[in-house]
Symmetry: C2
Amino acid sequence: MELIQKGDKARIAAGKMAKMSTDQKNQALALIAKQLMAEKHFILAENEKDLAAGKNNRMNESLLDRLRLNEARLQDMADALIQLTHLDDPVGEVLSSWERPNGLAITQVRVPLGVVGMIYEARPNVTVDASSLCLKTGNAVMLRGSSTAIHSNKAIVKVIHHALEKSDLPSDAVQLIEDTSRETASGMFKLNEYLDVLIPRGGAKLIKTVVENSTVPVLETGAGNCHVYIDESADKEMAINIAINAKTQRPSVCNACETIIVHREWGGLNDLVLALEEKGVTIHGDEGVCGEKIIPAVEEDWATEYLGLEVALKVAESVDEAIVHINRYGTKHSEAIVSSNPDNVEKFLNEVDAAAVYHNASTRFTDGFEFGFGAEIGISTQKLHARGPMGLPALTSTKYILKGDGQIKK
Amino acid sequence: MELIQKGDKARIAAGKMAKMSTDQKNQALALIAKQLMAEKHFILAENEKDLAAGKNNRMNESLLDRLRLNEARLQDMADALIQLTHLDDPVGEVLSSWERPNGLAITQVRVPLGVVGMIYEARPNVTVDASSLCLKTGNAVMLRGSSTAIHSNKAIVKVIHHALEKSDLPSDAVQLIEDTSRETASGMFKLNEYLDVLIPRGGAKLIKTVVENSTVPVLETGAGNCHVYIDESADKEMAINIAINAKTQRPSVCNACETIIVHREWGGLNDLVLALEEKGVTIHGDEGVCGEKIIPAVEEDWATEYLGLEVALKVAESVDEAIVHINRYGTKHSEAIVSSNPDNVEKFLNEVDAAAVYHNASTRFTDGFEFGFGAEIGISTQKLHARGPMGLPALTSTKYILKGDGQIKK
């Protein structure tokens, strides 16, 4: 019931949003930034309720930290909103135009998607982030966050509505589903009549559930079982630097490396093992890897996203073996080769099936900001619509405009 | 079981297909064209079995006609294959490339999708059409046709395999599901592990079933409840020509017009009614339309795709009323305005939410060939990935290739 009512409102708002100018949208984003800070005490007090409930339910510290808001974090959100006003508006961009022999002039332009559904976990910052990206791209958004963040989310959406009321944008463009029962999530999976796309933001389990159950088109983001392959010809220092960076610079993220594959003839394996151990990384190695602290790797390790200071380490006979392994166990996210052999590099970059393939660089660069997009909706690991880091254009569709002077089909 | 086995084969073949050069793919297409004609007697004999079964089951003549093959139709298929060899190969196309301040060079290139699933009705020509488009774009394809065309489909795929065996392409790139029970169709809806995309080709009911049940990403094609809106300022002759063309030139197709909306102050309504009646079109008119033979329109008419010589006719007070009506009842396919008022034209083209919006031209041009694409996968009525007529690039994805010299994330 809530879904239908709010879906209706969002759909009507989407029609209005599509007509808003870039200035009108930017002005609204700036008003939201201002309002977040003006009502910070209210937001933080509501956030306290979620934190208290979380503590009562023995939520672990890392989850509590994701849930926690404070003045600095609100300021970061406000700053991000202002940053967003400086980015180009993709809506209205002409992608191509041509004339047909019969005189019909065809133009393809970017238009908003319509209504974007977001299902996410206990990070209240996603509420601001998702809303602002959707508004910037002329969409309406329907948010379904976690029950553990419901007070924070309600407060934030209330504040967003206060800001939108002062703007030209319809307040209904941001809808929060307040009933956080399982039924509203599964209801959104089937809300084809109201939602143009559904974007899950959270862990691998949430994403899998959405992909496997949603009939609304999904933008699949996230899971990353990424590899660094060190070829026979790789520069030793560069290879170790890249592998260590990809594994340890921030191990909890999706573009961190989970398996390192080393060519049998590469001379740096022992040094690599030492460097990993020095960083506190637990190694699951295959039979080619020697060392006291090595845990023998089992089949499962090749498919595991550790998201922590653990790594699987495999020895391969050739670049081909590495490619087959990666295409079998990888999640098509980010894959790197370190090599000085142009043929092997070419082969790897062409044959590995992933959103981003790297030569002589860390997988950690797969990110909308590192790509220079200025904003990121997420990192798509699917092949339709958008693949890899998604900037603002990923939240748009296109439309063909045809102008004639009476053309009819013969 | 058949799905998994053939899915496995298709996936392995897709890996090989991605490496094939444009020449290798074109050569294979030419071989298929040749083989179709060389084995025409076999194909036509098998097609006879389907026709005989169809007649036994009292299949109606229009369905029998879709099912029927003959030498001329086989020659058309062979000609289309040769045409396809002349089109640009989208795979490998560089979409954009730039360098980041840290020296990382980023290039976005087109790559094949992988394995394309096709679910379609009793038209054996789709078997050739879908296979050839997928092969040209470096994909493997899994075909699930109708039980009523199973002999024809098996024969055609056998012949395609004969041709592929003489080519560099893997024969496994074309897989036909021979079990045409309901279970294999619904099995394909959930075959996320093997299929990158599922494309239904057929009537509105088939498409709806696939969209509502598939967790594999779907490229939705087809249903078209298209409108022609005739504005107060429209040139009378041009407006009538366009409306008649959009309705009657080929009424059974998705880009044909189903509702005509006329501004109350436009002076040509009576002439339009006469012209429609002269073409044998039954008119469902609202209270603003007078005439002896007019059937009063009911709510259902506004949402009906007649696909025949019937039309709904509505009188509107303004362009705004027309836009609201179209956005409510349309299927976001093709929508036209005939008008000499630039403000109304601009409003209509911007605010009507559809894949193709027309000024002063017939909706019948929404078609990959009419757009100049040289081939057509279908006409997408969804907003993700591709919208409107889909040419070869719609069967591709993209990949980011990043080249560095040791870049690590700080």
